[in-house]
């Protein structure tokens, strides 16, 4: 994708994304009814779930691009992987910070070792390791390969972590009656959630395109200047 095309793609998705965000805010604060059992704090759900959605897309992209990078050796795939990893970290952080804000009011605790929260926390650290490995290896090319290895192992560990933690948690019933997922959604809540998912996805695509272009430009200009 050349620079002009990338600029247009980023702008297109960015404008769409921001418009959808504005729609989301309207729906969350003026349209969707307040959930009866959790009250106003349940509205965090409409950004909490989309942030996880985007984080998992991002980490899936990291694993895919890393795997193909190791296979083909194409530097653009590594650029895509590191871009996706950055985005994944941002949206995982959003999920990790908004979850406790919701949980404190809804469940009475800032943190529970609920499978998804635990998985999210571990994913954050796996991808922290991804960045540390890239930066700290003396040979940059080797750093890219090691990061790709960490990215692949990290994503393949997701089902293991989720299955194991879910199994462990099933032995210990939740202290509160409320389902952490929230109640079964009615139409308007589902619609708001879908808009949230769309908004976050569009914003991610826009920023991903810009960041990827920046990364490719950075590598190209660095090669030219050396």
């Amino acid at each position: 994708m050349n620079n002009e095309k990338a600029k247009k793609v980023s702008l297109f998705f960015g404008v769409l994304g921001v418009a959808t965000v504005l729609l989301l805010h309207y729906m969350v604060f003026f349209w969707v009814p307040t959930e009866s059992s959790m009250g106003i704090v349940q509205r965090i759900f409409y950004i909490h779930v989309p942030s996880w959605w985007v984080a998992f897309i991002a980490f899936g992209a990291v694993a895919l691009c890393s795997g193909v990078y190791l296979w083909l050796g194409d530097d653009r795939l590594d650029a895509a992987a590191v871009t996706a990893a950055e985005g994944g970290m941002i949206f995982t952080s959003i999920g990790l910070l908004t979850g406790p804000l919701w949980g404190k009011i809804a469940w009475g605790a800032w943190w529970t070792w609920e499978p998804r929260l635990t998985l999210a926390l571990l994913l954050w650290f796996i991808y922290l390791g991804y960045f540390l490995v890239r930066r700290s290896t003396l040979n940059p090319e080797r750093g890219k390969r090691l990061a790709a290895v960490v990215g692949i192992i990290g994503v393949l560990d997701i089902p293991l972590i989720h299955v194991s933690v879910s199994w462990l948690r099933s032995l210990h019933p939740e202290a509160v009656v409320l389902n952490p997922d929230g109640p079964t959604l009615d139409g308007s809540m589902l619609a708001t959630l879908m808009v949230g998912l769309l908004a976050y996805t569009l914003i991610f695509i826009s920023l991903f395109t810009m960041r990827y272009t920046t990364e490719v430009l950075d590598r190209a200009t660095r090669v030219q200047s050396t």
């Binding site: 620079n3 921001v18 504005l22 009250g39 965090i44 941002i90 952080s93 908004t98 404190k104 810009m210």
Partner: protein
């Protein structure tokens, strides 16, 4: 020579719109407190909602700023290479 003017324009426009979007929770909270919503008592839950939305957009904004700064560094590098 790589032209980055359009990207910078987008960057500035998007930052402005994002800033407005960030203000929405505050505006909405002011609106919401005027009418009663369920039996939930006002105060702390609203602050949690506002903080959550603010954190979300702040982090997205931070990523955008980081990308912009990186782009700026590349511009400088390209500019100095052309001058040399």
């Amino acid at each position: 020579m790589i032209s980055l003017k359009g990207v910078n324009e987008f960057k500035n426009n998007a930052m402005a719109i994002l800033f407005l979007a960030l203000c929405f929770p505050g505006m909405a909270q002011a609106q919401a407190t005027a009418s009663s919503l369920g039996s939930q008592s006002l105060g702390r839950p609203y602050w949690h909602v506002f903080t959550a939305y603010a954190i979300a957009w702040l982090l997205v904004l931070l990523w955008m700023v980081a990308i912009s700064r990186r782009l700026g560094r590349i511009e400088d590098r390209v500019g100095s290479a052309v001058r040399d």
